[in-house]
């Protein structure tokens, strides 16, 4: 009973904790901002975990895909609802943005997923260090390409998203972007958990452990890589689209550098490679930590690398290793519907029994 409705229950609970107090003004802007960043970081960390954790590659350009999503989503919403000096006046009344915003987010995600092909295709023949360089190059290429596009502001950045958000709030005064961020985070967790627990998606893990064996055991490794990279970069693109519509309503290419990619990597490795709950927890901890370290100003970026260096020295597997919270506290399984039919017998006895085929 509890298990059956647990998904609805979690969503309701999140709304109770996150959205409603923000709406009612119980949380001030600062707390809402932190919640917003937590949501974005959950998407970034969980999506990167698919590549760096489950597939065991070393992608260090995740922010590049975030940039693609941020710009594509913003250009769509701004052209339609806000207007821009280079792109002409608004085409539609800002109120319509309520409906178009999620579509624009998805469009940004799709654009980022296509950009993910820039990494996926080289990955057919290259792995490890060389692929890491390629991801990094893609990060620079995206940033550099945006800087060279004067029509969207070049290095000075792109504005107008604030008007779009205002338009949504005119229709109904609720924290729209925060709500969509949490829907996005939940959807990310849902999609990735589902994918890696399916026989099709487990091929990602088979590639990590032995790619040649995977290919020889009938796994289409190229297809798997394309799917994994596109899913991962597409979700990063959605995170970017949401990020661009955050407070300030302003983005510039300098936001999406290797430093941003490093943040995502720190979260993945801190949480544990191949652990979704690990990524979620570390996204929350990391975001709060960044805020707590704010008084240190520049030295924040001394403390964070130092933390990760110590982590690598003393607990390289991260908080969770490749286990999930449910592996450590099996009782939690009662709360969640199983994602995999083939769990160890004590957890799902009913599916393990099978009738021997009669000869």
């Amino acid at each position: 009973m509890l298990r059956k409705h647990s998904r609805a229950l979690i969503i309701a609970l999140l709304f109770l904790i996150v959205v409603i107090p923000s709406w009612g003004g119980i949380y001030d802007d600062y707390i809402q901002l932190i919640l917003f960043y937590i949501g974005i970081n959950v998407i970034m960390a969980t999506s990167l975990n698919l590549i760096n954790g489950y597939m065991g590659e070393f992608s260090c350009g995740h922010a590049g895909f975030m940039a693609v999503g941020a710009y594509v989503t913003s250009v769509i919403t701004v052209i339609l609802f806000a207007g821009h000096p280079n792109l002409g006046p608004a085409r539609l009344s800002p109120q319509w943005s309520v409906f178009v915003f999620p579509i624009a987010l998805v469009a940004g995600g799709i654009a980022a997923a296509v950009a993910g092909l820039l990494v996926a295709i080289p990955s057919f023949r290259t792995r490890g260090d060389y692929l890491a360089i390629i991801t990094l190059a893609v990060n620079y290429i995206v940033k550099s390409a945006i800087e060279n596009m004067e029509i969207i502001g070049g290095p000075r950045g792109f504005v107008g998203m604030g008007k779009v958000v205002n338009g949504m709030q005119q229709v109904l005064n609720i924290p729209w972007v925060l709500i969509w961020t949490f829907i996005g985070a939940l959807a990310t967790i849902f999609l990735i958990r589902n994918f890696v627990s399916s026989t099709r998606g487990k091929s990602v893990i088979a590639i990590r452990e032995d790619e040649i064996a995977a290919e020889l055991m009938s796994v289409d490794t190229r297809r798997t890589k394309v799917v994994a990279f596109m899913l991962s970069s597409g979700l990063a693109g959605i995170a970017g689209g949401l990020f661009a519509h955050g407070p300030g309503g302003y983005i510039n290419p300098g936001t999406f550098t290797i430093l941003k990619s490093t943040e995502a990597m720190v979260m993945v490795y801190m949480g544990g490679m191949g652990s979704i709950t690990g990524s979620i927890m570390s996204a929350i901890i990391f975001t709060i930590l960044l805020e707590l370290l704010r008084p240190l100003k520049v030295f924040k970026w001394v403390v964070i690398p130092l933390l990760l260096i110590l982590l690598m020295l003393f607990r390289p597997e991260g908080l969770m290793g490749n286990r999930e919270l449910t592996d450590i506290f099996p009782r939690l399984r009662a709360l969640f519907p199983p994602s995999d039919v083939g769990l160890p017998p004590q957890e799902s006895r009913e599916v393990l029994e099978y009738a021997p085929v009669s000869d």
Partner: protein
């Protein structure tokens, strides 16, 4: 024609920077299979150390010491100290991981973090103020067939060539150089033959870091504005050069460095030609990284690298 030669000289100068830094990447990779992501920041450390030493020497002994001595001392001392920084990083951050047999990935992440640490330690302690690298050499410009060549450029290019020839000799002729090559050739057997691996690794970091420091000082002399993040982009590009040449291959790093120097200078030069006005210098980085992407997609082991077949 003279324009062409002018660009040629500029390309040689930039190529020298890239090649010297790329050597550090490639040597560490050859010996440790580690992409030392902190290496670009070692270049920055070298430039800053040169700045401090040079400024100190000039202000304290400037009137009594001949300028060639100041220059030499600055170069040597900054190279020595930077080598110390490189070895310390290896000792404190990389070696413990290696001795525990940690996954290579963790070492790479650590390297990336060490780079960030160096940048922000600099920013934190020295502030965002830009530093002016001291003038250690009075610039003189010679005009040869309409090509303007300064003594600085000649010095940079000449010294780089000398250092690289020296490095070739070290690697080919000395015991330690041969051990380096042996390790990159067969990682398992060499330690069994009684080669002191840790000593070889330390030597590699000393050479790599001091070459980066040399490049940092040269860069400071040519473009005297120093910033905390000056090593990032040039470091990445040098890394591209190393990869393009086939990482682990010493000659590849040199060739890759000069190749990248030429490509970049000519992209900028093309912008001056009629019809290519759109190709502004801001496209330089874009072109460099796109070339990397294309080369790695077509030839995953770089231009000089040899594919190692995985045994099935």
């Amino acid at each position: 024609m003279s324009i062409f030669l002018q660009h040629f000289v500029n390309a040689l100068q930039w190529g020298s920077f890239y090649a010297l830094i790329a050597l550090g990447y490639t040597m560490v990779y050859g010996v440790l299979l580690l992409i030392n992501f902190a290496h670009g920041d070692i270049f920055m450390v070298g430039a800053y150390l040169g700045f401090f030493i040079g400024t100190y020497l000039l202000t304290t002994f400037g009137s009594t010491m001949p300028s060639w001595l100041v220059l030499t001392l600055t170069l040597l001392l900054s190279m020595l100290l930077t080598a110390g920084v490189g070895v310390t990083i290896e000792r404190v951050a990389y070696r413990p991981l290696r001795e525990r047999g940690a996954d290579r990935l963790y070492v790479v992440i650590t390297a990336l973090m060490v780079g960030l640490l160096l940048e922000y330690l600099n920013l934190g302690f020295l502030g965002a103020r830009r530093r002016q690298y001291p003038t250690l050499l009075e610039t003189q410009v010679y005009s040869i067939y309409g090509v303007n060549v300064s003594n600085l450029k000649i010095g940079i290019i000449g010294l780089s060539f000398l250092v690289m020839i020296g490095l070739e000799l070290i690697v080919r002729k000395t015991k330690i150089g041969m051990a380096m090559r042996a390790i990159s050739y067969d990682r398992e057997a060499v330690p069994l033959m009684g080669v002191p691996v840790n000593r070889i690794i330390v030597a590699t970091f000393i050479i790599g870091s001091s070459l980066a420091a040399l490049a940092g000082n040269m860069f400071g002399a040519a473009y005297p504005i120093l910033t905390y993040n000056m090593g990032i982009l040039i470091g990445w590009k040098a890394f591209i050069a190393a990869v393009v040449g086939g990482i682990g291959e010493i000659r590849g790093a040199m060739a890759g460095g000069y190749l990248l120097g030429f490509i970049e200078i000519f992209v900028v030069a093309m912008g001056g030609l009629p019809g290519f006005g759109w190709l502004s210098s801001t496209y330089r980085d874009l072109v460099a990284f796109t070339i990397l992407l294309i080369i790695l997609t077509l030839r995953p082991t770089g231009l000089f690298g040899v594919a190692r077949r995985q045994k099935v």
